[in-house]
Symmetry: C2
Subunit: 150 residues, 2 copies
């Protein structure tokens, strides 16, 4: 079997990138995860052009990743905050950060697991055995090749 047989046109990676893969978008989301919610701050911290920021925010809101929320009447002002769908992008940002801090000497934040108190960077793990997983540990399988009950 050629692994390249996976369908490209309905690929989950491609579809995701269509939503968050444009230039600047992931930097906007980085700021969102850091708690930044307002236009001016987003613009300042990312250094991006205001019109582009405006465009990206509209796209993210349209896709339900961020939501606009009124935080002040008179004059009406909105802020942008992550939806649950947006919060689910945390693993993407975290793995990007982890790679950068390992291979590019950029700085990763220090993170603490609220539940157990451990100060550590989460990693990918197999949900069954709990073992840490890297690329070579996983195999792509075709659904038809699986036993029916599995």
């Amino acid at each position: 079997m050629l692994k390249s047989d996976w369908t490209r046109d309905n690929c989950a990676v491609g579809n995701t990138l269509a939503v968050i893969g444009e230039r600047w978008t992931l930097l906007v989301l980085r700021e969102s995860f850091l708690g930044v919610r307002r236009f001016e701050q987003l613009q300042r911290y990312t250094g991006m052009a205001r019109n582009i920021l405006s465009d990206r925010l509209n796209t993210l809101v349209a896709h339900g990743v961020l939501e606009r929320e009124l935080y002040q009447e008179r004059p009406q002002r909105y802020e942008y905050r992550l939806t649950d769908k947006g919060l689910d992008l945390y693993p993407v940002l975290l793995t990007l950060m982890d790679w950068g801090s390992k291979h590019l000497a950029g700085e990763a934040m220090t993170l603490q697991h609220k539940h157990c108190g451990a100060v550590a960077m989460p990693h990918l793990a197999c949900p069954e055995c709990g073992e840490r997983v890297v690329a070579r540990d996983m195999r792509a399988v075709r659904d038809e090749a699986l036993p029916k009950s599995a």
Copy 2:
């Protein structure tokens, strides 16, 4: 403390995106992880323009994510394969795929953990307690705020 105090200019996320955040680059890497190594195939499966593919491959090779390897003399032909550094991007691709299959109805591949045989999608886990981790489970801490021995 404002979480937005984290430094932006040496941010691991930003640095990573500078390497793999350009348009098309992550689709090239998707193909690489699927085992595609040659220019023509990469071009066909991604649907991108040949000059852009050429540019992206050069960038990825320059950053040590892919390496060019001679697979045929006369005429000399090279293929592009993931380095260890590139293989470490697996979590990024996997989390992108996972989000897409959950929120966008795109199709995720079926994966099997070679070691335990489980057919399952890996997820983020705390390295200490092994518990599954989502965004709200983690807290950003400043290094100075940590006890010295921890």
